[in-house]
């Protein structure tokens, strides 16, 4: 099939402002949007810039806004879009560095702020710490996160607020708050309940819809809110 690929272009070394460029391509319905971007880069315009690595939705490099929705370019097939015009632009709310590639540092700073690691100062036993399958299941969803930023950069509060840590950081906090082995909630709740924390969430559900790993992001945020209320931090 013939598709029109409309791409957001911005080269900071040459362009004064971003602009759109369209490319006409032959595509299979089963082609990934990433394949189309590669076709442009490899056959037409080598300057087209985007991140990508694994090509099958696990490394989290290629989150982009595709036809108005945040998705992974490697996990979005042409046939899923139901149209022969495909618009690709960078995820929103992070500074654009070049074309579809954004500065991820603000996103990663928010991730680090919630202390996304196991906190437990007790000496570990000789073998593994025990954890029942039920205890393990409670925080399963958060362990799927690939830090692609699709959720955070779909959040209206994140776009306008500038200090909100965003859904992904909260999902990663959830993963430890609800881990029976973790003892760090006192420290973690400070970052989560401050001005840029969970109370900024307005349950728009954009994040849940955007997650390419099908994590129920909004639900997890609500669980974190409840956990903080119960502990009355």
């Amino acid at each position: 099939m013939r598709v029109t690929l409309k791409l957001f272009r911005y080269n900071p070394e040459a362009d004064r402002a971003p602009h759109w460029e369209s490319y006409q391509l032959e595509a299979e319905p089963t082609d990934r949007v990433l394949d189309l971007l590669h076709n442009v880069k490899w056959d037409t315009d080598g300057t087209l810039t985007f991140r990508r690595s694994c090509g099958h939705g696990i490394c989290g490099s290629c989150a982009m806004m595709i036809n108005g929705v945040n998705r992974l370019a490697c996990k979005t097939l042409v046939q899923n879009l139901g149209t022969d015009t495909i618009t690709v632009e960078p995820i929103r709310g992070l500074p654009v560095e070049k074309d579809l590639l954004v500065d991820m540092d603000p996103f990663l700073r928010a991730f680090k702020a919630v202390k996304p690691y196991l906190i437990n100062d007790e000496p570990p036993p000789e073998r593994e710490r025990l954890q029942s399958p039920e205890e393990r299941a409670i925080f399963d969803e958060g362990t799927k996160c690939i830090l692609c930023a699709a959720c955070t950069t779909s959040c209206p509060v994140f776009w306008v607020n500038g200090t909100y840590i965003g859904p992904s950081a909260i999902v990663n906090a959830h993963r430890f708050i609800f881990d029976s082995r973790d003892k760090g909630n006192g420290e973690r709740f400070k970052a989560l309940s401050g001005g840029g924390g969970v109370w900024r969430c307005r349950t728009a559900y954009n994040c849940t819809e955007a997650c390419p790993r099908d994590i129920p992001v909004t639900e997890l945020i609500e669980e974190v809110k409840r956990a903080i209320m119960v502990n009355l931090v």
Binding site: T30, T47, C54
Partner: protein, 578 residues
């Protein structure tokens, strides 16, 4: 200005992050350079499990694990490495749990374990549950847990830096690295008391591969271009179950959970090739069996060009709970629901057993006498300690990252204690800078994408699951021609900010270099062993070939070979049947 660290690590996957943590725990100031952000590393794509004889589900012993590893490697495995590995992975997996890794659990609360190819109880009697796992995203949770720990311990990262050169002093000690920063186009110099290479494999030399676009053997190519050897590059593993036709990995854990490979007649053909452990035979055996089924006309589909992985007899809950990601891959990319219909699969390029030769403490060696290159270490897929021999068992790679990443961290931190920073004359930066300038200024009419495609397609045709002299000789010539064409590439992006076209050009240079070593060594080894199957030499030849290849690059297209004896021990080489 140079960045200075006690220990500098190149690569931020499982081996690199483990090395970083252990070097830091041993008092070193650590820096980690990666051409990606750490969580994009290809460790994250590993699915099925990490091997360790924990014995959580049934009796298991490290000696059985060692035996399986040696036999799985078709006796090319160095048995001292296999012994260290099988013992230390037990502690390594427990340490991962202590770091917070979310393993699946048994009702007892212990880490859950599943079956995997080639892992057996009591020296080959029957499959054993040895693979500790987290659904089918074990690599993902290992990578993320190590990344979390690196944040906790304040490790310094240089993300999106591409390494251009390694620096050695006149005594041959490695003391520095030059790296290109993608964000700015600047070349940075790094000085360190010890350098650890942990940069992964080179699956992208082949067209059909389960590996990421970025798995391009950059550091192996750099080492080989410096006149240091690559060990056993001819041994490259094809994973039997890549999602057809893309090659995306479908974990062997699917067969560990009871999945069955079937041909067009619906026959469970592995019963004929491996009567004892059937679908759980090692990968080289299964990939070749599939190849034969297709060649003899029993392939599936209208073109009889693939095999079916049947999970339809499993409880849907097993698929959704323990194999959710691969079920989603099948649905997304092949439009197949594995609960209802078989998944179309074909072998896919997966893992390089060979790599940068090292001692048991991950010190890089320069020759068959194991002469150490001071200050230089390597671990993980980029290295060859040779614990995988001629064929790696599934789940042994994640375990290798932990065992030898840890040893690399400890050994490099200790070595770096004696470190006094070298002077860094400005001219040492020049060769690295020239590599970049040469590509930016190239004005020929060759394209990176076209050369890469020609390499990947020809490697698939001439140097994949089955090989012979005619096709390998042809491939030697093709690679030389492609290398000459590579001298005439030009790129459109001449900019300094995020020039990913430049990086792809550099990566293609790496691929052409490591492919040369692979193909020359494959042509040279006139026997069949593990993943290296020669139609013209179908038998294993222990009299002449129970030895490791060391391939040295004398000039482009000119390779010299030396040989290193295999470390034998507990297990005498025997015919390999399953």
């Amino acid at each position: 200005m140079a960045h200075i660290h006690d220990v500098l690590i190149v690569g931020a996957g499982g081996a690199g992050l483990t090395a970083a943590l252990f070097a830091a725990k041993n008092g070193a100031n650590v820096g980690v350079i990666s051409k990606l952000y750490p969580t994009r590393s290809h460790t994250g794509a590993a699915q099925g499990g990490i091997s360790a004889a924990l014995g959580n589900v049934e009796e298991d012993r490290w000696e059985w694990h060692m035996y399986d590893t040696v036999k799985g490697g078709d006796y090319l495995t160095d048995q001292d490495a296999a012994e260290v590995f099988a013992k230390e992975t037990i502690e390594g997996v427990i340490e991962l749990e202590h770091m917070g890794l979310p393993f699946d659990r048994l009702p007892s609360g212990k880490i859950a374990q599943r079956r995997f190819g080639g892992h057996t109880r009591n020296f080959g009697e029957a499959p054993v549950r040895r693979a500790a796992y987290a659904a089918d995203r074990t690599g993902h949770v290992i990578l993320h847990t190590l990344h979390q720990q690196a944040i906790k311990h304040g490790i310094t990262f240089y993300n999106e830096f591409y390494v251009l050169d390694l620096l050695f002093d006149e005594d041959g000690r490695a003391f520095g690295v030059l790296a290109y920063e993608l964000a700015t186009g600047e070349v940075h110099a790094f000085k360190a008391g010890a350098i650890v290479i942990a940069s992964g494999g080179y699956g992208r030399v082949f067209k059909i591969t389960a590996t990421a676009h970025t798995v391009t053997g950059d550091m192996q190519a750099l080492i080989y271009n410096k006149g240091l050897p690559l060990e056993d590059p001819e041994f490259f593993q094809f994973h039997p179950t890549g999602l057809f036709p893309l090659g995306i990995l479908i974990t062997e854990g699917a067969r560990g959970e009871g999945g069955i490979l079937r041909n067009a007649n619906g026959e469970r053909f592995m019963e004929r090739y491996a009567p004892t452990i059937k679908d759980l035979a090692p990968r080289d055996v299964v990939a070749r069996s599939m190849f034969i089924e297709i060649m003899e006309g029993r392939g599936c589909g209208p073109n009889k060009d693939h095999i079916c992985l049947d999970l339809t007899h499993l409880e849907p809950e097993v698929i959704e709970k323990r194999l959710p990601d691969i079920a989603e891959f099948a649905r997304t990319y092949a439009g197949v629901d594995p609960v209802k219909e078989p998944i179309p699969v074909l072998y896919t390029a997966h893992y390089s057993m060979g790599g940068i030769p090292t001692t048991l403490w991950t010190e890089v060696v320069r020759d068959e006498k194991n002469t150490v290159v001071p200050g230089l270490y390597a671990a993980g897929e980029s290295a060859c300690v040779s614990m995988h021999g001629a064929n790696r068992l599934g789940t042994n790679s994640l375990a290798e990252l932990i065992v030898f990443g840890r040893r690399a961290g400890i050994a490099s931190a200790k070595f770096a204690q004696t470190y006094k920073p070298h002077p860094l004359p400005p001219e040492v930066v020049e060769p690295g800078r020239e590599r970049v300038e040469k590509i930016l200024n190239g004005s020929g009419d060759e394209s990176v994408a076209r050369i890469r495609k020609a390499l990947q397609e020809s490697m698939m045709e001439n140097a994949s699951v089955y090989r012979n002299e005619e096709r390998l000789s042809k491939q030697v010539k093709i690679i030389r021609e492609l290398q000459e064409r590579y001298e005439h590439i030009s790129i459109q992006d001449k900019g300094r900010i995020y020039n990913t076209e430049l990086v792809e050009a550099l990566e293609l240079g790496s691929l052409l270099t490591v492919a040369e070593a692979l193909v020359h060594a494959a042509l040279n080894r006139t026997e069949s062993r593990g993943a290296h199957a020669r139609e013209d030499y179908p038998e294993r030849d222990d009299d002449n070939w129970l030895k490791h290849t060391l391939a040295y690059r004398e000039a482009p297209g000119k390779v010299r070979f030396a040989y290193k004896p295999v470390v034998l021990g507990r297990f005498e080489p025997k015919p390999r049947t399953y």
